[in-house]
């Protein structure tokens, strides 16, 4: 792929704008609260778009196009089953506790509901995960730029990290959130023409139906058996593992996304943030998955759309979007497409760094290192943490370059930590008897159960380092099964230990547990401001999509 002056001009313009946002916002950021929590003053449309944009990292943009060509329409389960329902649940049921409790972060909510050790466990694992995820984003960006554009690895790493550092250092969370919204529009408007041109070239919808293997054009067909669908999963692990455990675990407890709703101006807007975000989210497969299916139709009709092989000799599905960009975009719009890719990496990185910042400063530093310091001090620590977070990301990127497998290993460990989390939150919010001891040991045993399941099962040659008592049809199936097993173990252990330990008195749980929190009644509210109605509409549209693409 060869870029021209105009393409470099567009990339440079984008860099100027994101850095400019940081400089403009710098004057508004005066306290630690401004820097780390945007002082809870961000309007609804911005929080909503930032909510999905924080998730619209490169893993999403490149990864979903890759899955689209590998698994076909089945990939849309990550949106309709694996996101929409959980986002509705967060908005309707969980947001009142997060926002109403005045917690500044998800770990701080755990402190209020349970105890210090549960909070610290969550804060530490979250901080480590975010900072390494940020490094992995950086590594993947530099590798991609090296592969498709021939850019120097060091240049990409330091340029991208430098720009993210400038705008997050100057404008804090607000700057990251503002840029996420710009990135959202850039990604959508930069990739939508690719879908349009690709679809047109492939012969429209008819061309897709005619040229793509019918097995890849369904959502539920063949789900009764893992061997009968391209994803290699069965309906139970898909619905329980992905649709319930992984989806709710990510969308309802991951501070990276929840933080975007927690900086809303009031509770109603905080509740509506994930619900409004769910509307673009359920249409996002058009932008991120469809290119992967279009390329399959194009491969049958035209030369040049074949995907390259990776180092192991297997098809490199991650090159789906880059191949489409180089084949279908002329100079000019190609610059916009490449900028959209870079934006998705930087968005993922900045989101992780700002979430890391808040959790480190409030949940680790303020709690364990220096309590009761001045506002100015925590503002200063927030700024230092931003620099430290970026430096660790850079180190991780170089480390990942040396040891390729470290990326797989990190993602695996993250999945062990994430899988049981939703059980802890669910029990905490809906069963007042749940105790801090129960939550802590439940989390630990859930994480251990995930690691143990991985050690005892094999899929696509991975796992089974203890013994092999079961072979899964695919890695995806293994991940979904690990998730529901970890969740179930965490749920049972938390419940059992809670029953034999002393719960917090009821008065300390008001605003934190469903049954002890007064329900809001606001009959004057119009339907489009009512979270419940918005949630029902989202679920109805999702249901219709599932029927259409059954």
């Amino acid at each position: 792929m060869h870029l021209h002056f105009i393409d470099y001009g567009i990339i440079a313009l984008y860099f100027i704008f994101v850095v400019g946002v940081g400089f403009v916002l710098k004057k508004k950021i005066k306290t630690g609260n401004d820097f780390l929590m945007s002082n809870r003053s961000i309007p609804l449309w911005i929080t909503s778009l930032a909510f999905i944009s924080a998730n619209l990292g490169a893993q999403e943009v490149l990864g979903m196009a890759a899955s689209g060509s590998k698994y076909g329409f089945y990939t849309a389960h990550y949106y309709w089953l694996g996101a929409a329902i959980a986002m509705v649940f967060l908005g309707v049921f969980m947001m009142p506790f997060y926002y109403g409790s005045k917690a500044r972060s998800v770990p701080e909510f755990l402190k209020l509901r349970y105890d210090e050790k549960t909070r610290t466990f969550n804060a530490l694992s979250f901080a480590v995960m975010t900072v390494f995820s940020s490094g992995i984003s950086l590594y993947a960006l530099a590798m991609l730029m090296q592969t498709i554009l021939g850019w120097d690895f060091n240049l990409s790493v330091w340029l991208a990290a430098g720009i993210v550092l400038i705008y997050t250092f100057l404008g804090g969370l607000t700057s990251a959130v503002y840029n996420e919204v710009l990135q959202f529009f850039l990604i959508v408007l930069g990739i939508a023409p690719l879908v349009f041109i690709g679809l047109h070239k492939a012969g429209g919808w008819e061309g897709i139906m005619h040229n793509v293997d019918n097995v890849k054009l369904h959502l539920w067909k063949g789900m009764e058996n893992a061997a009968h669908n391209p994803m290699g999963v069965d309906a139970f692990s898909l619905v329980f593992g992905l649709g319930f455990v992984l989806a709710f675990g990510y969308w309802c407890t991951d501070f990276l996304v929840v933080q975007r709703a927690m900086i809303s101006r009031n509770l109603n807007e905080a509740q509506r943030t994930p619900l409004i975000a769910a509307f673009p989210k359920i249409f996002m497969p058009i932008i991120v998955i469809l290119p992967g299916i279009i390329i399959l139709a194009l491969q049958k009709q035209f030369p040049g759309f074949e995907l390259p092989k990776n180092a192991n000799g297997a098809t490199d599905y991650n090159m789906t979007l880059p191949v489409m960009l180089s084949q279908l975009y002329p100079s000019g719009i190609l610059g916009v497409g490449i900028t959209a890719l870079i934006a998705s990496f930087m968005s993922g990185m900045a989101g992780n760094v700002t979430a890391f910042n808040t959790v480190w400063t409030f949940d680790i530093y303020q709690t364990h290192i220096k309590k009761n310091a001045s506002e100015k001090h925590y503002f200063y620590i927030g700024k230092v943490t931003t620099v430290a977070g970026i430096l660790i990301s850079i180190a991780t990127a170089y480390f990942a370059r040396q040891f390729n497998n470290i990326m797989d290993l990190l993602q695996l460990v993250f999945s062990f930590v994430n899988a049981p989390l939703f059980a802890t939150f669910f029990l905490g919010m809906f069963w007042k008897r749940t105790t801090g001891h129960g939550a802590f040991w439940g989390l630990l045993s859930g994480t251990s159960a995930a690691a143990l399941t991985y050690g005892l099962t094999v899929a696509e040659g991975k796992g089974g380092w203890i013994a092999n008592i079961h072979t899964f049809y695919s890695g995806t199936s293994q991940a979904f099964n690990i998730a529901w097993i970890a969740f179930t173990i965490c749920f049972i252990v938390t419940a059992l230990i809670s029953l034999v330990t002393k719960p917090k008195p009821n008065e300390q749980l008001v605003g934190l547990v469903y049954s002890l929190t007064p329900k809001q009644k606001d009959p004057t509210r119009v339907w489009y401001k009512n979270p419940l109605w918005l949630g029902i509409i989202v679920l109805l549209i999702t249901l219709i999509f599932n029927i259409i693409f059954f």
Binding site: I6, G9, I10, L13, Y14, F17, G20, V21, V24, L25, K28, S38, N39, S41, I42, P43, L44, W45, I46, T174, Y178, V181, L182, F185, L186, L189, P193, I197, Y329, P330, S331, G332, I333, V336
Partner: protein, 66 residues
Amino acid sequence: MNKLFDLRFVIGCFFLIVGVLLLLYGFFSDATEQSVNRWCGSIFLLFGIIMLVLSTRNNANDTSAH
């Protein structure tokens, strides 16, 4: 200066400039397949203008971070 705090203004400016760049390139470049740049440029320009118009309306959804 206050205008710069309005995110709609910032996004509007960005897409306006990118739209104009693509249109100019689409019309003045010798390369083939420039129609893509022309229609994409037009759409970006239109989107940029809409965002700028929205940013001039000061309503309850004021985007500045107070």
